[in-house]
């Protein structure tokens, strides 16, 4: 399944709808679909806000596939080179006053996937994620 979205935050809802279609098509558990939605939300919002600097008018390509007990997600954009797999682990202060709001998104992606790879190809960022899912 393929989808191209514009580089605007409301467009992320279309990616969630695509996850819903994949779930229905293959009878995947809701908890796995929810995990994939979180992963897509973290990566797409990062790309839109930071990779593309909040600029509209860019396209982000998505591909979702389920085969061999595994969902594969591919995300491509033409923003500045950025490897999210190298993002440092967040410092998680244990008091409310000291806790910073950012930094956990990529940690969520790592936790909710079984593999998380990045390549820079032809001036494009390409992220490939896999999550084992039993239908």
């Amino acid at each position: 399944m393929r989808l191209t979205i514009e580089s605007r935050l409301p467009e992320i809802a279309r990616a969630m709808d695509l996850v819903g279609e994949l779930r229905q098509l293959h009878g995947l558990p809701q908890r796995d679909a929810d995990a994939l939605c979180i992963v897509l939300d973290e990566l797409l919002s990062n790309t839109i806000r930071h990779g593309l600097g909040g600029a509209a008018g860019h396209e982000i390509s998505l591909a979702l596939d389920y085969a061999g007990g595994e969902v594969t997600v591919e995300i491509e954009d033409d923003g500045a080179a950025f490897d999210p797999t190298q993002a440092p682990a967040p410092v998680l202060a244990a008091t409310l006053a000291e806790r910073k709001p950012g930094g956990v998104g990529i940690a969520f992606v790592r936790n909710l996937t079984d593999s998380f790879e990045y390549r820079r190809e032809a001036d494009r960022n390409r992220v490939v994620l896999r999550r084992r899912v039993m239908a």
Partner: protein, 119 residues
């Protein structure tokens, strides 16, 4: 399902029941509502997440901003109804250590009443 927020006050304390998904497309709406109620100046705000399908980091940011604003203005933000995969996300981000989390709205109201009696 998109995000829905309904106000269902508990024992005279502002309480919000949140349902649907809390992510980067919906978190601004939640943050706006939370901030508005914290600024209204009550002694506490209860947020019931029992009907939430999932929460991403954008949702945690909204809760954190409101809780920190509440801490500086003496309006405690209490969370309840956190179970299953939503609880797992709280633990994954170590948010269970920074928020006050109780089982039900009633327990949150009791907690706030006891805190205001002690103060």
């Amino acid at each position: 399902m998109a995000l829905e927020i309904t106000q269902e006050d508990e024992a005279g304390i502002a309480a919000l029941a949140v349902s649907g998904r809390i992510d980067s497309t919906t978190a601004a709406k939640l943050q706006e509502r939370l901030t508005e109620l914290v600024r209204a100046g009550g002694r506490g705000l209860i947020v019931d997440l029992r009907q939430v399908a999932y929460i991403s980091s954008a949702g945690f940011r909204a809760l954190l901003v409101a809780a920190q604003l509440g801490e500086s203005s003496r309006c405690s933000l209490l969370l309840c109804g956190i179970a299953g995969e939503v609880r797992r996300m709280f633990e994954m981000g170590a948010f269970d250590q920074v928020f006050t989390i109780l089982a039900t709205r009633e327990e949150c109201a009791t907690h706030l009443a006891a805190a205001s009696t002690a103060a």
